[in-house]
C-alpha cells in the first residue's frame, strides 16, 4: 500500500463515480449527433440520477432482501474495482486485490447480484432477463480468462500493476499480434458484459429483446439510480481496464500532483475516446439475435486462443 496507490485510488473512485454518467451522456450525445439529432447534452445522465435520488422508493410485494440489496452490492463491487485497478497511477491502493482475475470475477459478481434481483421479482421479464444475462456471462468467461492468460503469459503475472508496469517499460509489445488479438477479444468480452450493441441494446423499449433492462424493470427511485450508476460505472471501469492494459501511457509512476493530474487527464481522455469509438460503432450495428450471440462469443474465444498462440509463437 503506497502513497501513490492510496491517493490514486481515491482519485479514481471520484473520477469513476463522477465521470461514469458523463461517459454515458457523451456516448448518447455522439450517437444523437450521428443520427442527426441535437441530443440532451452530456450532463443528462447526471440530471436523471439527481432526480431519481429524490424520488420515492417502491418495494414490490413479494420481493425479498435480495431485491433491495442487489443495487447496493453491484455499485459496491464496481467501486472496489474502480479503487484498486491502476487507472491513474501504476500503484494500486490494494495491490493484493488488484489481480486481473479477481477484478473480472468481481465485475461478474455484480451482474449476478442484479440477475438474482431480477429472479426475485418473480415476473416473467425478470426471469427472462436473468436467464439471458447469466447465459451470456457463462459464455463470456472462457474468452475473458484465455485473453487474460495471453496477456499474463508474457509478464508472468496476473497482477494488474505488474502488467501495466511491464507494458509501460516495453511499449513496443503493444503492436505485437498477441497483444492486438487479446485486445480485440477483450473488447468483445466488454461489449457482451456491459450489454452494448450488438449483444444487447441499451436503449430498447421492447421487453422481448431486452437482456439487462428486463432484470431491472421493477426498480424505481434511488434504487434505480444505483442500478443506472452501477451500469455506467461498469462500462467506465471496463473501458479503463482495456485502455490501461494496452495503452497505459500517461499513467503516473510516482506520487506528486502534476503526475497524478496527468494520469487523471490521460485516463479521462482514453476512456472518453474508447467510449466515443464504441458509440460510433454502435450506430452501424444492429442487435444480434440472442442465439447468434454464442457465435460472436465463439469467435472472440477463437481470437483469445489465437492471442495465446501468438504469444507462444511470436513472443
Amino acid at each position: 500500500m503506497s502513497a501513490l496507490g492510496l491517493v490514486g485510488g481515491l482519485l479514481q473512485a471520484v473520477l469513476v463515480v463522477g465521470g461514469a454518467p458523463l461517459l454515458l451522456g457523451m456516448m448518447r450525445q455522439v450517437r444523437a449527433r450521428l443520427e442527426g439529432r441535437a441530443g440532451p447534452g452530456i450532463a443528462q445522465p447526471w440530471r436523471d440520477l439527481r432526480k431519481q435520488l429524490r424520488k420515492e422508493t417502491i418495494t414490490p410485494r413479494g420481493t425479498s432482501e435480495m431485491f433491495r440489496v442487489a443495487p447496493v452490492l453491484m455499485v459496491a463491487m464496481t467501486l472496489v474495482v474502480a479503487v484498486v485497478v491502476p487507472f491513474v497511477g501504476t500503484a494500486s491502493a490494494l495491490p493484493a486485490v488488484a489481480d486481473l482475475i479477481v477484478v473480472v470475477a468481481l465485475l461478474a459478481h455484480g451482474s449476478v447480484a442484479i440477475a438474482l434481483a431480477g429472479l426475485d421479482t418473480g415476473t416473467a421479464f425478470g426471469g427472462m432477463g436473468a436467464s439471458r444475462e447469466v447465459t451470456i456471462l457463462a459464455l463470456v468467461e472462457p474468452t475473458a480468462l484465455v485473453a487474460i492468460f495471453a496477456l499474463s503469459v508474457r509478464v508472468g503475472s496476473t497482477s494488474l500493476p505488474e502488467i501495466v508496469g511491464s507494458t509501460l517499460d516495453d511499449p513496443a509489445r503493444v503492436v505485437s499480434p498477441a497483444s492486438l488479438l487479446a485486445a480485440v477479444a477483450l473488447a468483445m468480452v466488454i461489449i457482451a458484459e456491459t450489454g452494448r450493441l450488438p449483444v444487447d441494446n441499451p436503449s430498447t423499449h421492447l421487453e422481448l429483446t431486452m437482456v439487462h433492462e428486463a432484470m431491472v424493470l421493477e426498480y424505481a427511485g434511488p434504487r434505480l439510480a444505483l442500478v443506472e450508476l452501477g451500469t455506467a460505472m461498469r462500462l467506465t471501469v471496463y473501458l479503463g481496464l482495456l485502455a490501461n492494459l494496452f495503452v497505459p501511457w500517461g499513467v503516473a509512476t510516482e506520487p506528486g500532483v502534476p503526475a497524478l493530474l496527468v494520469g487523471a487527464v490521460a485516463f479521462a481522455v482514453k476512456v472518453g475516446a474508447l467510449g466515443a469509438a464504441l458509440a460510433c460503432a454502435e450506430v452501424f450495428l444492429a442487435k444480434l439475435r440472442l442465439f447468434r450471440v454464442p457465435e460472436l462469443l465463439a469467435g472472440s474465444f477463437l481470437l483469445a486462443v489465437l492471442a495465446v498462440t501468438a504469444a507462444y509463437v511470436l513472443g
Partner: protein, 666 residues
C-alpha cells in the same frame, strides 16, 4: 501413541461404537445417540487430521486383526488432509442427522450403517498397507450402499440407483484390486513403506496407474465413469448425500494422489496429461448437465462431478509439472487441488444439507415446483445462498480462492515443460476451467434464484416450514466453514500447502497470513482485504442512498394480472438458452404438441411441451454395453435351459476337450 493416534483410535471407537449403538438402543433415542457418535467421531478425526498435517505422523500394525494381510494404519500429512476434511463433514452431517432421521430414517439398519460408513471413510486415508486399503474401501462401499438404499420403500428410483451404484462401485473396486495387487505382488507384506522402496518397470507402473485411475476415478465421479454419481447421491438421505458428495468422492482423489505421487513416485507426463484431460472434461460436462437440470439434488450431484474434475485438473497439472522437474509449480497446482477439496467439502455439505432441509420442509426436489421459500424457510434460504455463492466460485468465496490458485498454477506453468504441454494443454485447461466457472454461476443463480427467491410455484412450496434446530445447527456448522474459508483461507492454506509441498518434495508454494503470497512465482491475493474492501464499499453506498421508507406496491404486471405462478420463469425455462447453445452436446429430446379447436386450426386449444435430457455419455456408452450384456445373458439362458442331461453333456464335453488338448500339447 501420540495425539494423532489417540484421536484417530478414539474416532474409530466412536464410529464403530455408534454402529453398535444404532443396533441396540431404543428407537426414541437412537438418532440422538447415533448423531452424537458420528459428530464425535468426526470431531476427533478432524483433530487427528490436523495433527497429522502438522507433522505428527502415526502408524500401527495389527497383524492379528484380519486374516491374510492384517491391518496396518499409517497417518501421514497427505492422509491427514483427507481425515480432517472427512471428519469435519461428519460433524455437520451427524448433528444434522439427529433431526433429519425423525422422518422415517430411524430404522436399525440405517442408523447402524451411518457411523460405520463414517468410520470406514476415516479408515481409508489412514490405511497403511494395500490390503488394509482394499478392505476399508470395500467396507466403505458396502456401508454407503446400505445407506443409499435407505429409502427404497418410498421411491422406486432408489432401487435402480442402488443397482447402478453397486455394479459400478464394484467394477471400480476390481480395477483398483488389479492395479494394487500388481503393485503389491513384488513386495512381501504390501505395506506402503515396502511398496515405495520397490523398483519397477515403467510399463508395470503405467498399468498400475491406469487401473487405479479407472477405479479411483470412478469413485470420484470422473467422466465417463460418473453415471452412478448423479443417481446414487440424490437418492440417499440428504446427510448421507453430503457425506458421499463432500467426503467419499474425495477419497478417489486421495487414491490417485497416493498411488501416483507416493507409491509410484511420480511417473510419465502422459499419466498426468490423462488425469488433466479427464478432469477438464468431467468439469465441463458435469456442470453443463447441472446447468440444464432441474432436480435440485441431482444438480448437486453433477456439480460434484464438476468439482472433482477441477480438483483433477489441479492434480494433473501438478503431475505434469513434477514430471518436467518443476517442483515449485507442481506444489502450487497440488495446493490448489487440495484447497479445492477442502472448499468443495464445505460448500457441498452445506448445499446438500440445505437441499435436505427443503426436502424435509416441502417434500420437493424439483426446482420447477419450488420458489418463494425465502419467507417460509429463511434460515435454509440463507444457508443455500451462502453455499451457492461459494459454489459459483465468485469472490468472496472459498472456491474462488482455490480456483484462483489453480489458475495461477496454469498461467505460471506456461513457461515449463514441453511446448505441446505448455502451449496447448494449459490454454485449453484455462478455457475449460473458465467455462466451468461461468456455467457454475448460471447453475447456482438458477438453483438459488428460481428455487428460493421469487414466488412459490406449487402448494407444497407455499406451505413449507422451517426445519428443526438440529438440522439448522448442522447447516450452521457447514456455513461457518464456508465463511471461514472465504474470509480466512490463509488459516488452512499454509497447512495444505505444506502437505502439497511434501508430496512434490519442495517447500510450501503458498505463504502469507493476510495476503496469499505465491512462492517462486509472482502472485498475491488477499481474500480478507477483499472482503474488508467490499464491506466498506457496501456500507458507504448504503449510507449514501437515503433511508426513506419505501412504498409497497403490486408487482408491475403490465397493468393486466394478477400474475400467476405459471407466468414465472422456471428452472427449465431459465436454462433453455444454455440448452440451445449446447444443443449439439446435450442432444435433448423435445416434443411440442399443439392441439387445435375443431372449428379452426388457427385456434389453439392447448400446447404441450415435453423435454427429456438424457445423460448423453450414459446413453451412448453405457446403453450399448448394457445391451451387449443382456445379449450374452440371453445366449446364456439358451445354453442353460434347466435340463440336467444338458449340463452333464457340457461337463463331459469339456472333459474330453481337455484330454484332447493335453494329448495334442504334450
Amino acid at each position: 501413541m501420540n495425539v494423532t493416534g489417540v484421536a484417530l483410535v478414539a474416532a474409530l471407537v466412536a464410529g464403530f461404537g455408534g454402529g453398535v449403538a444404532g443396533l441396540v438402543v431404543p428407537r426414541t433415542v437412537r438418532p440422538v445417540v447415533v448423531g452424537a457418535c458420528v459428530a464425535a467421531a468426526g470431531a476427533l478425526a478432524t483433530l487427528a487430521g490436523v495433527a497429522a498435517m502438522a507433522g505428527v505422523a502415526w502408524s500401527a500394525a495389527l497383524p492379528w486383526l484380519l486374516p491374510l494381510t492384517g491391518v496396518e494404519l499409517a497417518v501421514d500429512p497427505l492422509g491427514g488432509v483427507f481425515l480432517a476434511v472427512t471428519g469435519a463433514v461428519a460433524v455437520a452431517a451427524g448433528v444434522y442427522g439427529i433431526g433429519y432421521a425423525r422422518g422415517g430414517l430411524d430404522g436399525r439398519a440405517v442408523q447402524a450403517a451411518l457411523p460405520v460408513f463414517v468410520a470406514s471413510l476415516l479408515l481409508v486415508p489412514a490405511a497403511g498397507s494395500i490390503g488394509t486399503l482394499l478392505v476399508c474401501w470395500e467396507l466403505m462401499a458396502l456401508a454407503s450402499l446400505l445407506l443409499v438404499l435407505a429409502e427404497h420403500g418410498k421411491r422406486a428410483e432408489v432401487a435402480s440407483a442402488g443397482r447402478w451404484y453397486a455394479v459400478m462401485t464394484h467394477l471400480g473396486f476390481v480395477a483398483i484390486l488389479v492395479g494394487l495387487l500388481v503393485l503389491a505382488g513384488a513386495t512381501g507384506d504390501g505395506s506402503f513403506a515396502a511398496v515405495r522402496e520397490q523398483a519397477r518397470a515403467p510399463e508395470t507402473a503405467g498399468l498400475v496407474f491406469v487401473c487405479c485411475l479407472v477405479g479411483f476415478g470412478s469413485k470420484a465421479g470422473v467422466l465417463p465413469l460418473h453415471a452412478w454419481l448423479p443417481r446414487a447421491h440424490p437418492e440417499a438421505p440428504s446427510h448421507v448425500s453430503a457425506l458421499m458428495s463432500a467426503a467419499m468422492v474425495n477419497l478417489g482423489v486421495y487414491g490417485i494422489l497416493r498411488v501416483g505421487f507416493d507409491l509410484l513416485g511420480g511417473g510419465a507426463p502422459w499419466w498426468w496429461l490423462a488425469v488433466l484431460v479427464l478432469g477438464a472434461a468431467s468439469a465441463v460436462y458435469g456442470i453443463l448437465q447441472a446447468a440444464v437440470g432441474s432436480d435440485l439434488k441431482r444438480l448437486l450431484g453433477y456439480s460434484t462431478t464438476e468439482n472433482m474434475g477441477l480438483v483433477l485438473v489441479g492434480v494433473g497439472a501438478g503431475g505434469m509439472f513434477a514430471a518436467s522437474g518443476d517442483a515449485v509449480l507442481a506444489a502450487l497446482a497440488l495446493t490448489a487441488a487440495l484447497l479445492h477439496v477442502v472448499a468443495h467439502a464445505a460448500f457441498k455439505t452445506l448445499l446438500f444439507l440445505a437441499a435436505g432441509s427443503v426436502l424435509h420442509g416441502t417434500g420437493l426436489r424439483d426446482l420447477d415446483a419450488m420458489g418463494g421459500l425465502r419467507p417460509v424457510m429463511p434460515f435454509t434460504t440463507v444457508a443455500f445462498g451462502l453455499g451457492a455463492l461459494t459454489a459459483s466460485a465468485l469472490p468472496p468465496g472459498a472456491a474462488f480462492v482455490s480456483e484462483w490458485v489453480l489458475l495461477q498454477a496454469l498461467v505460471h506453468g506456461a513457461g515449463s515443460g514441453t511446448v505441446v504441454a505448455s502451449s496447448i494443454v494449459l490454454p485449453v485447461a484455462v478455457g475449460a476451467v473458465a467455462l466451468t466457472a461461468g456455467l457454475a454461476v448460471a447453475t447456482f443463480v438458477k438453483a438459488f434464484g428460481v428455487g428460493f427467491l421469487a414466488r412459490p410455484r406449487s402448494a407444497a412450496a407455499a406451505e413449507a416450514h422451517e426445519s428443526p434446530p438440529t438440522m439448522l445447527a448442522g447447516m450452521a456448522l457447514a456455513g461457518l466453514a464456508c465463511v471461514g474459508l472465504a474470509v480466512l483461507p490463509t488459516v488452512v492454506l499454509p497447512a495444505v500447502a505444506g502437505v502439497a509441498g511434501g508430496v512434490t518434495g519442495s517447500g510450501p508454494a503458498v505463504t502469507g497470513a493476510v495476503t496469499i503470497q505465491l512462492t517462486g512465482v509472482s502472485g498475491t491475493m488477499s481474500p480478507l482485504l477483499l472482503v474488508a474492501a467490499l464491506a466498506v464499499a457496501t456500507a458507504l453506498v448504503a449510507a449514501v442512498v437515503s433511508r426513506r421508507s419505501a412504498r409497497r406496491a403490486r408487482l408491475w404486471d403490465c397493468g393486466g394480472g394478477p400474475m400467476s405462478a405459471r407466468m414465472e420463469y422456471t428452472a427449465t425455462s431459465f436454462a433453455e438458452p444454455l440448452q440451445r447453445v449446447f444443443d449439439n452436446v446435450l442432444a435433448p429430446d423435445q416434443d411440442v404438441d399443439v392441439t387445435h379447436y375443431e372449428e379452426s386450426r388457427y385456434l389453439v386449444r392447448a400446447v404441450a411441451y415435453r423435454r427429456t435430457l438424457r445423460d448423453r455419455v450414459e446413453h451412448r456408452l453405457y446403453e450399448p454395453v448394457l445391451a451387449a450384456v443382456r445379449g450374452w445373458g440371453r445366449a446364456g439362458r439358451r445354453l442353460a435351459d434347466g435340463s440336467v442331461h444338458r449340463y452333464l453333456t457340457y461337463g463331459f464335453a469339456t472333459l474330453c476337450g481337455l484330454l484332447v488338448l493335453m494329448v495334442v500339447t504334450r
